[in-house]
């Protein structure tokens, strides 16, 4: 197993964990937590490929990850704002009860 494969495996495990949390837990914020974990796993994948792939001095993966982080931050902010807005309307943060779009 090469270091790259080890890194990728580690990030896959992180990803699966984050996915499991996102689809299993009831609370909306925990779903967002899981999504953040998934994003981090993806970033790790990118860095691994940058580090062990060709031309690391081009910094392509590096910059990609930077922007991804910025995006993740913006997305976390907006998502949490949404959760707060929903909590204000429905007085619950239980995702089982948020199904107006049913049908």
């Amino acid at each position: 197993m090469s270091p790259l494969q080890g890194c990728l495996l580690f990030s896959a495990l992180l990803f699966a964990t984050g996915f499991a949390g996102a689809v299993t837990r009831r609370h909306a914020i925990l779903v967002l937590v899981g999504i953040e974990l998934m994003l981090n796993a993806a970033n790790l994948n990118l860095i691994a490929f940058w580090r062990f792939g060709p031309h690391p001095e081009a910094l392509t993966g590096f910059i990609f990850v930077l922007f991804s982080m910025a995006l993740a931050a913006a997305e976390a902010a907006v998502g949490l704002a949404l959760v707060i807005a929903i909590y204000r309307h429905k007085r619950t943060s239980n995702l089982d009860e948020v199904k107006e779009l049913k049908g």
């Binding site: 996915f19 996102a22 689809v23 779903v31 089982d96 199904k99 107006e100 049913k102 049908g103």
Partner: protein, 703 residues
């Protein structure tokens, strides 16, 4: 071309136009109708005289001029259906006779039908008949001939059934039409065969016509069914038409019943002209009849098979009808059977002696038979529509003019020697019959017939004109209470007819005497006129051995008949109407047989009519059940199909559609469950999709 030949068509067309004008008149305008009809016939007479004059004086050879015009085109430019007329001596003499006698009868009808409310209709039909008859006479073309023949048959039907509210008249009209139809069928077949064989419809066409030698020899050489020549077969078929129209045995049954029509109709149609049309037809196609087949000639002994057939049929008819006439009690029926008998004589004459012999008797018969019929009409009119001779009598003093002319007619018919035309014409026939090479039996039959003729005519005249009036017995036995007041004041004694009725009678009587002159052996003008040979006036011919002995023989026969009749009926005058006839008392069985016309009508009823009725029932069954059944079956088939379609539509299509819609709805509602509205469900699905994608990509790459 002679101008009269070009305008010959006017002769039949003028009465046709008159009939048309009378037909479209809504209001009864008797004077107009009578004037038109009589005027048309008078104009026709004048034109016929012109035509007659044109045919005279051509020396040797027969004058014959033909006028044809193209009518219809078949296919190529040369294939024209031609129509046309011919002017030859036969045509001319018939034209003169028909128009002249017709005109006289029309004038008579004005008086006879004066009290009838259907005066207009009568004259319309009479004029139509005249045009048809004249068309028959002048037609040079099989097609025109047949059309005119049919018009004549139609108007005969219309006129016999003129008083159609009488069931007997309607039945008689039907019988006449159907019986002559049987003959007409033969005529049509013969004419079609003639056309098919010769390729032309024209009788005379400058050498190409069917009655001219080229065509005739071709037909005589052609052998057909039963070893007979085509000319014989065609002649037989055409003769069948003549048998029907001229009332020869066995198709004679309609003529006596035709007396249901008014008396002028009986005179014109069933004495002078229409029934003579059959004889005229035979005369017209005489070249065909006299054409010997060009094989087996020795069998025929100088006479062709057709002419033999014609002679035998004529002879049998002559004796047959004359015997029936002896036992009849209706004044018109006696004359009807007499007509049938005389027609037989004419046919016999044509058979044994040729066209001239038969036609001479036809011309003389037309005049004296019309005279007799019109006279009987005058008698009936005078006796207030009484027709039974047993109820008449002694009319000599009530109707002297009628008696005089009737006696002249009767003597002419009987063949009283020397002065009356009937003697000369009948003698010609008997003369030729006695010289016939095939057999002498027709001669003997003809002599017997002449005996009967004289006998029954004397009987009739004695019963009608002599003795005392027996009509009063019936009148007195009538209950006067069931008649109107006017009737009780009505004079039951007979009266003389008005001048409009008696003057034509007198004119006819004159001709009945004078016509004999043209046919005596001393000056056979008629013969020469028709055959184109020269005629010499030679009184010495009268005293020739064969001729003189025959004249004496026939004179003896006539006097015997007259004497017997007078003995039985004139001398022992009948006293009452209900008395038994002398002959009936003497020979009741034979008399009954003769009175019932040899039960021929009953025989036909049992065989032919029953067969016909059965065939009609069979056809009805076929039509109703078999053909109708097929139609019904088809319609039921369609009904069944329609029911099936409805079933299919209701259960298959509708239910299928419903099921389709239901499944669509269910699948829709099922699919809508995918939209749970829950984010985590969506996420799970995306996870599964990711897994699948990875598998797909890896395997895709691996391959």
């Amino acid at each position: 071309m002679n101008w009269i030949v070009q305008y010959l068509w006017l002769i039949p067309v003028l009465p046709l136009v008159a009939a048309g004008i009378i037909a479209v008149n809504k209001q009864p305008q008797r004077k107009l109708a009578a004037t038109l009809a009589i005027g048309a016939m008078a104009a026709g007479s004048l034109l016929s005289l012109c035509a007659f004059y044109a045919t005279l004086g051509h020396g040797e050879g027969v004058y014959r001029e033909v006028y044809s015009f193209n009518w219809l085109q078949f296919g190529g430019t040369d294939n024209w259906l031609q129509l046309g007329w011919v002017l030859d001596p036969l045509t001319a003499i018939m034209l003169v006779m028909v128009t002249f006698v017709g005109m006289l009868i029309f004038i008579f009808s004005v008086g006879y039908m004066a009290h009838d409310p259907n005066f207009m209709r009568f004259f319309c039909f009479l004029a139509l008949f005249a045009s048809g008859m004249l068309g028959v006479v002048i037609a040079n073309n099989l097609f025109l001939f047949f059309v005119s023949w049919e018009i004549v048959g139609l108007t005969s039907y219309l006129l016999i059934g003129f008083w159609y509210h009488k069931p007997s008249a309607a039945a008689a009209a039907k019988k006449a039409f159907i019986t002559t139809r049987i003959g007409d069928l033969g005529l049509l077949l013969g004419m079609v065969w003639l056309y098919a064989q010769t390729g032309t419809l024209n009788f005379y066409d400058h050498g190409h016509g069917c009655m001219e030698t080229t065509a005739l020899t071709a037909m005589a050489a052609h052998v057909t069914i039963g070893g007979l020549a085509v000319s014989t077969m065609v002649g037989l078929l055409i003769f069948l038409g003549a048998v029907g129209k001229s009332g020869q045995v066995p198709l004679h049954v309609w003529l006596p019943d035709a007396m249901e029509g008014p008396t002028p109709v009986s005179a014109l149609i069933h004495a002078a002209t229409m029934v003579a049309a059959g004889v005229f037809l035979v005369a017209r196609v005489y070249p065909l009849m006299s054409q010997s087949p060009l094989f087996g000639a020795g069998l025929y002994l100088d006479s062709t098979p057709m002419l033999q057939v014609i002679t035998w049929v004529g002879a049998i008819t002559a004796i047959f009808a004359a015997s029936i006439a002896v036992a009849q009690n209706d004044i018109k029926r006696i004359l009807a059977y007499s007509t049938v008998s005389q027609l037989g004589y004419m046919m016999m004459g044509i058979g044994v002696g040729g066209v001239a012999v038969g036609m001479f008797h036809l011309i003389t018969h037309a005049f004296f038979k019309a005279l007799l019929f019109l006279g009987s009409g005058s008698v009936i009119h005078g006796c207030h529509e009484e027709q039974d001779v047993r109820k008449m009598g002694g009319l000599k003093k009530y109707m002297p003019v009628t008696f005089a002319v009737y006696a002249i007619g009767m003597l002419a018919l009987s063949g009283f020697p020397l002065f009356f035309s009937g003697f000369w014409s009948k003698d010609e026939i008997l003369h030729h019959a006695s010289n016939w090479s095939v057999s002498h039996v027709p001669f003997y039959l003809g002599c017997t017939g002449a005996l009967f003729t004289a006998f029954y005519m004397t009987r009739q005249v004695a019963l009608v004109f002599f003795g005392s009036y027996r009509g009063q017995d019936e009148a007195s036995s009538h209950g006067h209470t069931d008649h109107a007041h006017a009737h009780s004041a009505h004079d039951h004694t007979p009266h003389e007819s008005p001048a409009v009725m008696t003057v034509p009678l007198m004119i006819l009587a004159v001709f009945a005497i004078l016509l004999g002159v043209i046919g005596t052996p001393a000056w056979p003008w008629f013969d020469s006129y028709l055959t184109g040979e020269a005629a010499k006036f030679d009184l010495g011919k009268l005293t020739e051995h064969g001729t003189l002995s025959l004249m004496v023989t026939s004179a003896i026969i006539v006097f015997t008949g007259l004497g017997l009749g007078w003995l039985l009926y004139g001398n022992r005058l009948r006293k009452t109407a209900g008395e038994k006839d002398v002959l009936e008392a003497a020979q009741p069985a034979v008399f009954k047989l003769l009175q019932n016309k040899y039960y021929i009508d009953e025989l036909y009823e049992l065989t032919v009519i029953r067969l016909n009725a059965f065939a009609a029932r069979l056809c009805d069954f076929l039509d109703r059940w078999i053909f109708g059944g097929v139609v019904l079956a088809v319609s039921y088939l369609f009904l069944g199909l329609a029911w099936l379609y409805r079933l299919m539509d209701e259960y298959l299509v509708n239910l299928g559609f419903d099921a389709g819609c239901d499944s669509l709805r269910e699948s829709g509602s099922g699919l809508s469950k995918l939209h749970s509205g829950r984010v985590q469900t969506y996420l799970r699905v995306i996870g599964v999709a990711l897994v699948l994608l990875i598998i797909f990509l890896i395997w895709g790459h691996k391959a």
